[in-house]
């Protein structure tokens, strides 16, 4: 199937609000159903967005972070009524292990949401969203983000140039390699400082931040954005209202307890699950529409 991400085509303001809401609910609310919805929603969307690259991110970064969290929490937190075994007179409790497990999934979900955010929120979208409100900050931010790949490529250029001079970074004694590395690094830092001043000067001389300005890509807040924003806003308000009444809450310490299941908690869980899977739902719907339209040609 033709893979295109139509979710990222929505207005950047809506996208920022969407990610902010999902990440905040994931971080603040403690409940396995919401955690599972957020984790699976972000995981599937990330795989849809990045394909095979998503797996390397999941296995190389997210999984180790999660395992570390799972180990660290019961090792340092001994709260809880169910002692499984004792280490140096301190109990290792079932509650602490489960809490570690839960926070691991929460952390994984938040990392994946941010990674998906990075994938679809390009710098020009960010400048569009904040350019009028905080011109200086959004420029600095977008420059800083752009700076990391440029820094890397410049380091590669300089070290290649030095390799052709015979000062290879990967050969020789450790001391020699460190000395070569420092030379490359210092020249790159010098370049970076000069470069940022130049860019700032160039932007000032073009009148950045002085008045109304246009952006590279224009995003209108059109009917489609209005409809999706209204739907998500309504769902989000529902979720927040029900959460404020504590209908979905789980207690880990000192013993594990759930609030009783009510109509409100079921509605909250369903709505939040739909919100988490919204990017995928939109993408699949658009893909089906595209297939249908092309098949008629």
């Amino acid at each position: 199937m033709d893979k295109r991400d139509s979710f990222s085509g929505y207005n950047p303001l809506f996208l920022i609000a969407f990610f902010l809401f999902t990440v905040l609910v994931t971080m603040i609310v403690r409940h396995p159903v919401l955690g599972a919805a957020s984790f699976s929603g972000s995981l599937f969307y990330l795989i849809y967005l990045k394909g095979k690259k998503a797996f390397s991110l999941v296995f190389k970064i997210i999984l180790p972070v999660m395992i570390l969290t799972m180990i660290i929490n019961p090792a340092f937190s001994h709260k809880g009524v169910t002692a499984l075994f004792y280490v140096n007179n301190n109990p290792i409790t079932l509650e602490a292990i489960l809490y570690g497990l839960y926070s691991a999934f929460m952390l994984g979900a938040v990392i994946m949401w941010f990674s998906a955010y990075n994938e679809i929120m390009t710098t020009d979208k960010f400048v569009y969203a904040f350019g009028r409100l905080l011109p200086a900050l959004s420029l600095v931010f977008s420059m800083a983000l752009r700076f990391i790949p440029r820094f890397n490529s410049h380091i590669r250029t300089v070290s290649n140039a030095r390799r052709s001079l015979g000062e290879d970074l990967e050969k020789g004694s450790i001391m020699k390699r460190i000395r070569n590395g420092i030379t490359v690094f210092s020249s790159t830092v010098t370049w970076a400082l000069e470069n940022s001043v130049d860019t700032a000067d160039a932007m000032t001389s073009r009148g950045y931040g002085t008045g109304h300005r246009t952006t590279y890509a224009t995003y209108r807040f059109d009917k489609r954005d209005g409809i999706i924003s209204a739907v998500v806003l309504a769902a989000a308000v529902c979720v927040v209202i029900f959460l404020a009444r504590d209908s979905l809450y789980m207690q880990f310490y000192p013993s594990i307890e759930f609030n009783p299941i009510t109509a409100g908690s079921v509605i909250t869980a369903v709505l939040f699950t739909i919100i988490c899977f919204l990017p995928l739902i939109i993408d699949f719907q658009e893909n089906i529409k595209w297939r249908y339209l092309t098949s008629r040609i």
């Binding site: 075994f85 140096n88 109990p91 000192p254």
Partner: protein, 170 residues
């Protein structure tokens, strides 16, 4: 090369941890706690919480006994040179009472963070566990307080930095 070094350090750290840690099941934990020919009387209570129920964290209400006594007065045997901390460990192990402590390097002493899932700061910001020997509060850690035969050791939960249990020293 670097990966191997990291793996070696990791394996060494884990093996060091397992060697230096004493791992026991809950059944083993209650048995073979040592003892000695001297005895003292130990009790653990959180009666002050009953007067400060409004400050108590809602999640902790289930761990507070009705009369505030977590452990009634009990005779505990100990040997010469053992401290209030050793006796507390022995008692909580025998009675299977939850207890968490923390070694504070700055004071080179042990701090009792929580007993029976009642932790410091669970009942207002001035609350926590303290101890009294023969009705008197001491201003040093419980693992530096060497007990004598016949001492009365009280572990008490305070909601006011020790003032409400008479353990505060001006």
């Amino acid at each position: 090369m670097i990966k191997r070094a990291i793996a070696a350090v990791f394996i060494m750290a884990i093996s060091l941890l397992t060697v230096s840690c004493k791992i026991e099941s809950p059944e083993e934990h209650g048995k073979n706690n040592g003892g000695g020919d001297l005895t003292c009387t130990v009790s653990i209570d959180c009666k002050t919480v009953l007067d400060n129920m409004d400050k108590l964290k809602a999640s902790k209400a289930s761990v507070i006994p009705e009369d505030g006594m977590i452990c009634e007065k009990t005779e505990v045997s100990f040997s010469d040179g053992e401290t209030a901390f050793d006796v507390l460990v022995r008692l909580t192990r025998e009675k299977n009472i939850h207890m968490e402590y923390n070694k504070v390097p700055a004071y080179d002493s042990v701090y009792i963070e929580g007993i029976e899932n009642l932790y410091e700061m669970d009942c207002g910001e001035l609350s926590g566990w303290t101890y009294l020997i023969n009705g008197e509060g001491l201003n040093y850690g419980c693992d530096q307080c060497v007990l004598e035969d016949g001492d009365v050791l009280e572990w008490r939960y305070t909601c006011d930095l020790g003032r409400d249990v008479g353990a505060y020293k001006e």
